[in-house]
Symmetry: C2
Subunit: 190 residues, 2 copies
């Protein structure tokens, strides 16, 4: 067991024999990051995928007005990347950063792709990640398009309570599509 957390994650997502498991995990390398360390910058082509042992990653853009908009948060025991850039292998429109000091495992894009082609259970894991990511994005669209601010806040409290403890107000606001000060006022309202 080189990386027990990653192994458990893979076994939870799929049925995988020990040989394949080793084939997969051996391609990952440990990486410790600092607070606000940039894993992929705007303009870079993202060449890595990450497994989070501990910590928190954030994917976000800067919109036309210069405001940050958060696309995705990922916490421990999940995988993450600057997905659009990783998939399309085009310059990223997003930053991928570790919000807190994090304990990660990294795999290169080439190794990642080779594994999806040669280890069917790994392809399944990747596919499940995409399914989850899509369903999650759809939930956000449904929840945030119509709702008023106070209801969006309640929605996150109910559906992603961890986030509110782990992430700065500023980042939460950028995730809910409102300004800092509006979030602060809504919180005061309860």
């Amino acid at each position: 067991m080189i990386y027990p957390q990653l192994e458990q994650y893979l076994r939870r997502q799929t049925t995988i024999d020990d040989a394949s498991l080793l084939k997969v995990t051996s391609k990952f390398k440990p990486l410790k990051t600092k607070r606000n360390e940039i894993l992929c910058s705007i303009g870079q082509v993202c060449k890595h995928f990450y497994f989070i042992n501990e910590g928190c990653l954030r994917l976000y853009e800067i919109d036309d007005k210069g405001n940050e908009v958060t696309g995705f948060f990922a916490l421990e025991d999940s995988i993450m990347s600057a997905v659009p850039s990783f998939i399309l292998q085009k310059p990223s429109r997003d930053f991928l950063v570790s919000l807190t000091p994090s304990d990660l495992l990294v795999i290169t894009k080439d190794n990642f792709l080779k594994l999806t082609e040669t280890v069917p259970p790994f392809r399944e894991v990747y596919n499940k990640f995409m399914e989850f990511a899509f369903i999650h994005s759809q939930m956000r669209i449904y929840s945030f398009l119509g709702m008023e601010g106070i209801d969006k806040l309640r929605w996150v409290m109910e559906h992603e309570p961890k986030l509110l403890n782990r992430v700065s107000s500023k980042a939460v606001a950028s995730y809910l599509g409102m300004t800092n000060s509006t979030l602060s006022k809504l919180r005061a309202q309860l």
Copy 2:
């Protein structure tokens, strides 16, 4: 060539030999729908995936206030389903309907899953569909969370111009997260 459009779609998405292609396409059955025909209703567990030869499908929810919120439109030469329900095999929170009379090919969930397990190129096609769907949802989140109405409208005009010709104003408004009347006023502004 039983279903030339479907075959072309598959060949465009992946490299697939004729035997596999036949294995896949033979599991689809033609289905003609009327305008506003319901393919999956709220509460139903979605058991099918669809390929669109011609027409337009819409996935939408009814929010707490009774307003429609559109999660996804799909036009010809793409595949679609009530994805969250299909994946999780839980009662759907969405309606999946054909906005216009449509010419579809349908495959059952069981056959679909079997194909993803036994025909690797088909798994790849499904995976690419999920990747596209996720990237598209993320684009909407980035574009719609911060933007004002007029900019959202401009965004769709630029990125999905087909939609505005094919789809009712009401449906577009529910896709942009605004009311009918607001969209109408914004259109008047140009």
